[in-house]
């Protein structure tokens, strides 16, 4: 059993930023474990630009953004193992991993950072009726084929779901000579970033069909077409008579991401039903002491800059845990998702731990125009901010200042909610 101070599972942007930050705080015994053959995570296949506007004030591609962190990991000589998959973690912070050259490895860590990212929801999860033919891919799998392997999965494409990966792939497939017929979205609004809708659909005249879904899949062997129908915005049920057939050989699914928490579950870590990730406190510590979590495994982010920021915090707090300087035995207070709010992170906060601002993130449940975001502690309002528009496609990130946090000590909980006008 090898001992290590800080073990980081996942070498994507979250794992890398956590490692860099822990190092900069003083941690020298770090190990990053990554199952792919290189560091960088999902960004390796995101060859479009638009990354790093917040962090570096410039537009980088995914690989460029990742490389900035990889370079620092290399400069600092932070050890990492690629081609290494973690297959088990325990409450006692023991980690089992496999890799070709070292075989089965066991580690005992003082602290662990979970940074495993997320996976895509497949067709099966939607139970779309029809044939089970080839030609149906998640957008991310298609992205991997096109951007990393140089192979096109198909030539005539319909996209179901308007998540960012789906939108980006609409443009990418168009660039590469495919015809994208439509992007079909069940909800009355897109779940992708506004800028991606403009730059990936509008610029290429790809129709976005809101309140629509795929109701049938045709093609015994390879996909031959899909039937799209309008849905009732209330019941989400297809409306008979509105069916339209699109002849296509490829259906890409961009219908949601699920944080990858099989390992967390194994370690008995409490998960949050809303986010699909661990429940954490303001230090990003999970219910298992010394295990921290950040990035898409904690909750699905739309901007990597937020991932890096969150991960840097996890790295710093893990180091404080290791050096036994992380605040302990403080009273904790749950954070409640009120009206219009889904999956607020962190899920709890420690009263009296108010030396630093706390970032609170959530997704609006709906589209709200000219709305306010409020945080209340009991009767007391400790945060208020007006927004021209809130949409589920864009996470809200707000900072509670130490001054605000000092006011909450006597409350039962914190509630974050939207006040729609």
């Amino acid at each position: 059993m090898r001992k290590v101070d800080l073990l980081i599972i996942g070498g994507g942007p979250a794992g890398l930023a956590a490692a860099v930050s822990a190092y900069e705080q003083g941690c020298r015994d770090i190990l990053i474990l990554e199952r792919e053959d290189t560091l960088g995570g999902i960004l390796r296949q995101c060859i479009h630009n638009g990354f790093g506007l917040h962090t570096f004030q410039q537009e980088l591609t995914g690989p460029e953004y990742a490389q900035k962190y990889i370079d620092r990991v290399i400069d600092y000589q932070i050890p990492y193992q690629c081609n290494t998959m973690v297959i088990e973690i325990t409450k006692e912070k023991q980690v089992t991993a496999v890799n070709r050259s070292n075989g089965l490895q066991h580690f005992q860590a003082k602290a662990i950072i979970l940074a495993m990212g997320c996976r895509e929801r497949p067709r099966g999860a939607l139970a779309i009726p029809g044939w089970r033919c080839s030609g149906i891919y998640t957008a991310g799998t298609a992205q991997k084929f096109v951007n990393l392997e140089g192979i096109m999965p198909g030539a005539r494409v319909v996209i179901l779901g308007s998540g960012d990966i789906g939108l980006i792939m609409a443009r990418r497939m168009t660039f590469m000579g495919a015809k994208v017929l439509a992007c079909v979205e069940l909800l009355p609004f897109s779940s992708g970033l506004k800028r991606n809708i403009v730059q990936c659909l509008d610029d290429y005249d790809i129709p976005l069909l809101l309140n629509h879904t795929v109701v049938d899949i045709a093609g015994r062997e390879r996909l031959e077409g899909v039937t799209v129908a309008q849905v009732d915005p209330e019941t989400k049920r297809p409306i008979a008579g509105t069916e339209q057939y699109y002849a296509c050989d490829t259906l890409l699914l961009s219908v949601g991401l699920i944080p990858e928490n099989e390992l967390s579950r194994m370690a008995g870590i409490d998960l949050c039903a809303d986010t699909g990730g661990p429940s954490v406190d303001e230090n990003l510590q999970t219910s298992v002491s010394g295990v921290f979590s950040c990035g898409n495994v904690l909750h699905v982010h739309d901007l990597v800059d937020f991932v890096s920021e969150e991960a840097a915090k996890a790295g710093a707090k893990a180091w404080r845990y290791i050096t036994d300087t992380l605040d302990k035995n403080l009273k904790s207070m749950p954070i409640i998702s009120g009206f219009g709010v889904s999956g607020a992170v962190p899920q709890k906060i420690h009263v009296g731990n108010a030396d630093q601002p706390v970032t609170l993130m959530f997704r609006p449940k709906n589209v709200y125009k000219n709305a306010k975001v409020c945080v209340t502690a009991g009767e007391k309002e400790i945060y208020r901010h007006s927004s021209r528009i809130l949409t589920p496609g864009e996470m809200v990130s707000l900072k509670l200042t130490p001054e605000a946090l000092r006011q909450i000590s006597d409350a039962e909980n914190l509630t974050v909610k939207v006040e729609a006008s």
């Binding site: 496999v98 890799n99 070709r100 895509e120 099966g124 033919c133 991310g140 192979i151 198909g154």
Partner: protein, 483 residues
């Protein structure tokens, strides 16, 4: 000249192949699809039925009970996952208890041992997740669950190891009378053989009609299912059936040997035997009746849906034996549920009959033992370390949901009657069967297939023919990359 040609590589054809390999005969199996186990045998409920359900004195009743008794030894010999988890037939109204009694009586006539009616208390103690409305049940101690595709593949592998030849992509198109033999024409060429065994499932009526006037018809009957994530592996222990009522019949909630949960199947007569579509109506129905057993089925953890098509014969029973007007042509037709359960017994009796008619001697070299591909996910640490030391490919996990390693995938391809398609790998290793449904592992699995079979990625299919996965190279022909 061959001694026997078996038509169809489902569980029946492959079991017959294995049973016939016990004799000193030259045997070939012809399968129309790109792989064995592409028909009913891959898409069913996977229950080893006790035998209470079949009408007494039918072949179904006889072979169900016989087959059930053979399953333990069979699965040990073939190293196939089997679990005696018991079956329950539940009812939701006290008024229906006499019907449970009748079912029990029927089972006793069929000679099913240890049937028992249990009341509300024992029922809910056994199955705490069961709907509170369930008030009594028939408990079938001899009910079990099995992995149907692993069983089919295991039979085929063992048959091949004992000398049976397998031809895939070999649809039989015609059977003619030759000089004291049959001439079987197929897409893989013509074969002369002394005897033919028709195990063509849904198409066994057409095969029979090629040689016999004694016609029957196979009527396709579709069943649709949901599969739920392994998270719910412990929610139900037994396979929970519902007592057939006016409203519905046979929709069950059952754990599978792999820890997922199966809900279904519906029963719908359809016209097209190959129509394996799922439908909004069918899925809704499976859900509606499934919810009687398990209230609030967690739909967000559905990992996939599928349908299977039963080969129901117009004679309403299995059709087994030599055709009356076609000597040395044998049928194993109309094999619907409990066909999986019956397969070992059907195969044994048919093989004995064929051997007797051919006056065959025993094969002294027959080896009944087949070892499964060692599964990384089932090993303990010591076994894992050992497996990796012997083969570093065991340290490369390809399918993360099901923890399937590269070593397992390569072995699945290299084995006798090995996988050549993505679905073939899936059935042999579970790669791609988990909660992400192959989103993550498909690219790597394609690469491995290419390396092992010396194909280009553009040639790899999901299940043969035109089910190709990829369309074109972006740059040139991709030769450098994939040479």
């Amino acid at each position: 000249m061959l001694d026997v040609i078996i038509i169809g590589g489902g569980v029946i054809g492959c079991s017959v192949a294995r049973s016939l390999a016990r004799y000193d005969l030259k045997i070939a199996l012809l399968e129309k699809a790109a792989d064995i186990c592409e028909g009913q045998s891959k898409a069913n409920t996977a229950i080893v039925h006790g035998g209470y359900d079949a009408k007494p004195h039918t072949l179904k009743a006889k072979y169900n009970v016989l087959g059930n008794q053979m399953f333990g030894t069979l699965c040990t010999e073939l190293d196939v996952p089997l679990k005696w988890n018991t079956s329950l037939v539940v009812c939701f109204s006290e008024d229906d208890i006499p019907k449970l009694e009748a079912l029990k009586k029927q089972g006793e006539i069929n000679e099913v041992p240890k049937l028992r009616i249990i009341g509300r208390e024992e029922l809910h103690k056994r199955e705490p997740s069961l709907s509170p409305n369930a008030c009594a049940a028939l408990l079938v101690e001899t009910g079990g669950i099995v992995c149907p595709y692993e069983l089919t593949v295991a039979n085929a592998e063992n048959a091949a190891e004992n000398g049976v030849l397998f031809y895939r992509n070999a649809e039989v198109t015609k059977i003619e009378k030759g000089d004291s033999c049959w001439v079987v024409k197929s897409k893989a060429g013509a074969f002369e053989t002394k005897a033919v065994v028709n195990c063509a499932g849904l198409y066994s009526d057409a095969i029979n009609a090629m040689v016999s006037e004694d016609a029957f018809k196979i009527l396709p009957r579709r069943g649709e299912y949901y599969i739920l994530d392994k998270k719910y592996a412990d929610v139900f222990h037994a396979s929970v059936f519902q007592l057939p009522t006016k409203l519905g019949k046979g929709i069950l909630v059952s754990p599978t040997v792999d820890g997922t949960v199966l809900i279904g199947p519906t029963a719908e007569d359809i016209l097209d035997k190959s129509d394996i579509r799922t439908t909004p109506q069918g899925l809704a129905k499976a859900l509606k009746f499934g919810s009687l057993t398990w209230e609030n089925i967690p739909l967000r953890d559905v990992i996939t849906t599928f349908s299977g098509i039963r080969a129901h014969s117009d004679r309403d029973d299995f059709i087994l034996g030599e055709a009356p007007d076609a000597p040395l042509f044998f049928n194993a037709s109309g094999i619907e549920s409990p066909g999986l359960t019956s397969s070992p017994a059907i195969a044994r009796d048919l093989a004995d009959l064929v051997a007797e008619r051919l006056d065959a001697k025993e094969n002294p070299n027959f080896n009944p033992i087949r070892k499964a591909i060692p599964k990384f996910r089932e090993m303990d640490d010591l076994e894992r370390a050992k497996a990796i030391a012997a083969n570093p490919d065991y340290a490369k996990i390809v399918c993360r949901c099901e923890t399937v390693t590269e070593a397992e995938i390569r072995e699945a391809i290299r084995r006798p009657v090995g996988a050549q398609t993505i679905d073939g790998i899936k059935r042999r290793t579970r790669a791609g069967m988990g909660r992400c449904q192959a989103g993550f592992c498909t690219p790597r699995t394609i690469q491995i297939l290419c390396e092992e079979l010396n194909l280009s990625p553009l040639e790899i299919t999901k299940f043969g023919e035109d089910s190709k996965l990829l369309h074109s190279y972006l740059f040139g022909k991709g030769e450098q990359r994939h040479a």
